[in-house]
């Protein structure tokens, strides 16, 4: 018989690491389920997010470059426009420098939009000839002979300054223009706020920025966010060739291009984090969802795996128990064959010994006291020999009884009545030892199709053992009931119970705890064989510290339909 076609090593159930073995299996299963279900989601969401981010960056870079080019065109156009406006005014005015009244008319003509704050006329010697604007008092009598911008205008005819505050305390740009055949130049101050708005109105999204720095890294416009971005930290943007560039630094996408003949650098910055805030929120939600799904999967998997592994563990244990029983039954069969063989071999010599002794007795009868002085003693010896043969044969007959497959005698049996009858055999002995015997049979106990003689032998064996185990004044209680198609008879005694070592060997042949000569050690093993043959079972356990409990079960006969 194959007993070891096991999926899980039998040792795992018996070793102390048994618990951790099943726990490990559980952990492994849960982890596997979690990996298989959540990992693809994670990979998918990560890949999708990355793809989206990259494509957004590419698109944004392109858009930013377009925006940059258009802003540069606007700014250059604006500065050039102011320059050209002044140049045209100088050309149209004529040779003589305009006087104050003329200057006022000129300003009104060219300053419809309020872009120009004031207008001044400066002679070739650097003196202020005329001025229209709010700062006449501060500018009166000023000489620009030594100023760098004055010299540049006189040399090249045109000049546009950086943004500066000067003595006015307000940021402004100065544009100055002259003509080769004029002995004066026209100088205008551009409202820097108007200029700022040209830059800051660039659509750079939330958190973004747009500004202009000069070559000394001084801001020419207000940084939109008010955050001072250190232009020197952007060496690439500041390369100096004035080419348009877009690149990412940290959380910002920077675009730069040279304006005003590459004197200035127009910088646009897009805050990637703020621009992608919606996307990041969505990503956050996705992560939360995945975590939630993972948690759910974990719970469900843990519950399922827990139940499954527990069931496997139970099945394993039951299988091992079954194996133990099969082994026990095989052992019984082997011992039975052995016992039968031994009994047979011994019975033959016993027959001869007994016969010879009997013969001696018979022969002695024919002798007379005269011829044989010890006739009486010889007879006595022969009688003793026969008595011992009888004793030996009792044992061999029992051995045979153990091995014999008595399959006869099955009939419909009322187990309750049988139990009561068995009780009546022992009541006298129990009374002698003041042992209380109680027998409780469930009402409507089903009948059984079994061998009453053999079953009674089992009951007798158990009750005899109980009587031997219980001390005077003790108690033996028997209860018969039915449970799921089986009849269950429980024998509980108030004896000392069973030692753990005894429990394992209780049903082994020749195992006895009784004193020498009192028991053969075959009673329970015979009972075991009988119950196996009857399709039933016999088990023993300790009832806590209150003695031993033997349980006999056998199949009940199916009740006939009414």
């Amino acid at each position: 018989m194959k007993l070891h076609a096991a999926t899980i090593p039998a040792a795992a159930l018996k070793s102390p690491s048994r618990l951790s073995y099943y726990r490990r299996q559980k952990g492994l299963f849960v982890l596997l389920v979690l990996l298989v279900s959540v990992l693809p989601l994670l990979v998918l969401s990560w890949t999708a997010a990355r793809h989206y981010e990259e494509s957004w960056l590419a698109r944004s870079s392109q858009e930013l470059r377009g925006l940059l080019e258009s802003r540069r065109a606007i700014i250059d156009l604006f500065l050039r426009g102011q320059e050209d406006l002044l140049a045209g005014t100088v050309e149209l005015h004529g040779q003589a420098p305009p006087v104050a009244a003329e200057l006022e008319r000129l300003l009104a003509a060219i300053n419809r939009r309020g872009v120009i704050t004031d207008l001044g006329v400066i002679g070739a010697d650097g003196r202020h000839l005329a001025y229209v604007g709010p700062y006449s008092r501060q500018l009166a009598g000023r000489n620009y002979q030594e100023a760098a911008w004055f010299r540049e205008v006189m040399a090249s005819g045109r000049y546009v300054s950086d943004v500066f505050s000067g003595f006015r305390g307000v940021p402004h740009i100065v544009v100055a223009v002259t003509s080769p055949d004029r002995s004066w130049l026209l100088r205008a101050t551009i409202n820097s706020e108007f200029f700022d708005s040209l830059v800051t109105s660039a659509e750079v999204g939330p958190g973004g920025d747009a500004f202009i720095v000069n070559r000394r890294d001084e801001f020419q416009t207000r940084s939109k966010s008010g955050r001072a971005i250190d232009a020197t930290s952007l060496p690439e943007l500041n390369a100096g060739d004035g080419e348009a560039r877009v690149e990412r630094q940290g959380d910002f996408l920077y675009a730069s291009v040279g304006v005003k003949n590459n004197d200035w650098l127009l910088v646009l910055a897009v805050d990637i984090r703020s621009s992608l805030a919606g996307f990041y929120r969505a990503r956050q939600w996705t992560r939360l969802l995945i975590a939630g799904a993972g948690g759910l999967v974990l719970l469900v998997a843990a519950a399922l795996v827990h139940g499954m592994v527990n069931r496997i563990e139970t099945a394993d244990r039951e299988r091992l128990q079954l194996n133990d029983r099969i082994r026990q039954a095989e052992k019984m069969a082997l011992v039975g064959r052995l016992a039968a063989g031994v009994a047979h071999e011994i019975n033959n010599p016993l027959q001869i010994i007994g016969d010879q002794a009997g013969y001696i007795e018979e022969l002695l009868e024919e002798e007379t006291a005269d011829s044989m002085r010890n006739q009486e003693e010889c007879r006595e010896s022969a009688t003793r020999i026969r008595a011992q043969v009888k004793r030996a044969s009792t044992i061999t007959h029992r051995l045979l009884g153990f091995s014999r497959a008595r399959e006869t005698g099955r009939r419909t049996t009322d187990v309750g009545s049988l139990l009561r009858e068995t009780f009546s055999f022992l009541e006298k002995e129990a009374a002698n030892h003041r042992i209380a015997m109680a027998c409780l049979v469930e009402e409507n106990l089903p009948l059984a199709d079994t061998d009453p003689g053999q079953l009674q032998q089992v009951f007798l064996n158990i009750l005899n053992n109980a009587l031997d185990a219980v001390e005077d004044g003790g108690r033996i209680a028997v209860e018969a009931r039915h449970d799921a198609g089986r009849i269950v008879v429980e024998f509980a005694d108030s004896g000392p119970g069973l030692a753990p070592a005894s429990l394992a060997r209780l049903f082994d042949p020749f195992f006895t705890t009784k004193e020498r000569g009192k028991g053969t050690g075959l009673g329970l093993s015979i009972s075991y064989s009988i119950m196996q043959r009857l399709g039933g079972d016999i088990q023993a356990r300790n009832n806590g510290k209150n003695g031993a409990v033997f349980t006999v079960t056998l199949p009940a006969k199916a009740r006939q339909a009414a």
Partner: protein
């Protein structure tokens, strides 16, 4: 005194057969002994006996086979089975084949004696 039945003892235990034959003869029972099943069949072919005491384990053939062989011969003595090894199957088969009793060794001589007489009656 009534006539005692003739007895044939069939057993492979030589000591047992010798002794039993001698003792039965001493009590006036006409008795013979053989040690194998074939000898028993041969003996019965020569002439009938009243009672046969048959062991179940013979060296050449089993007790039940011997019984079957005897039935074919046609002489059917009363048969008592005497065995050191009582198996229910052997017992039942023996009884089905016409044996009148099944005895287990060791058995008291007097008991055996009375059974033999009873069987031969």
């Amino acid at each position: 005194m009534e006539k005692k039945p003739s007895v044939l003892v069939v057993d492979d235990e030589v000591d047992f057969v010798d002794f039993l034959v001698r003792r039965l003869q001493k009590r006036g029972v006409p008795c013979e002994g053989v040690f194998t099943g074939m000898d028993a069949v041969r003996r019965l072919k020569k002439g009938p006996v009243d009672v046969m005491l048959l062991d179940m384990h013979l060296p050449d053939m089993s007790g039940t086979d011997t019984l079957r062989a005897l039935r074919r011969v046609g002489h059917a003595p009363r048969v008592l089975i005497l065995s050191g090894h009582a198996s229910a199957r052997d017992g039942r088969e023996g009884l089905e084949l016409g044996a009148s009793d099944y005895l287990l060794k060791p058995i008291e001589f007097d008991t055996l004696y009375h059974r033999l007489l009873a069987a031969g009656r």
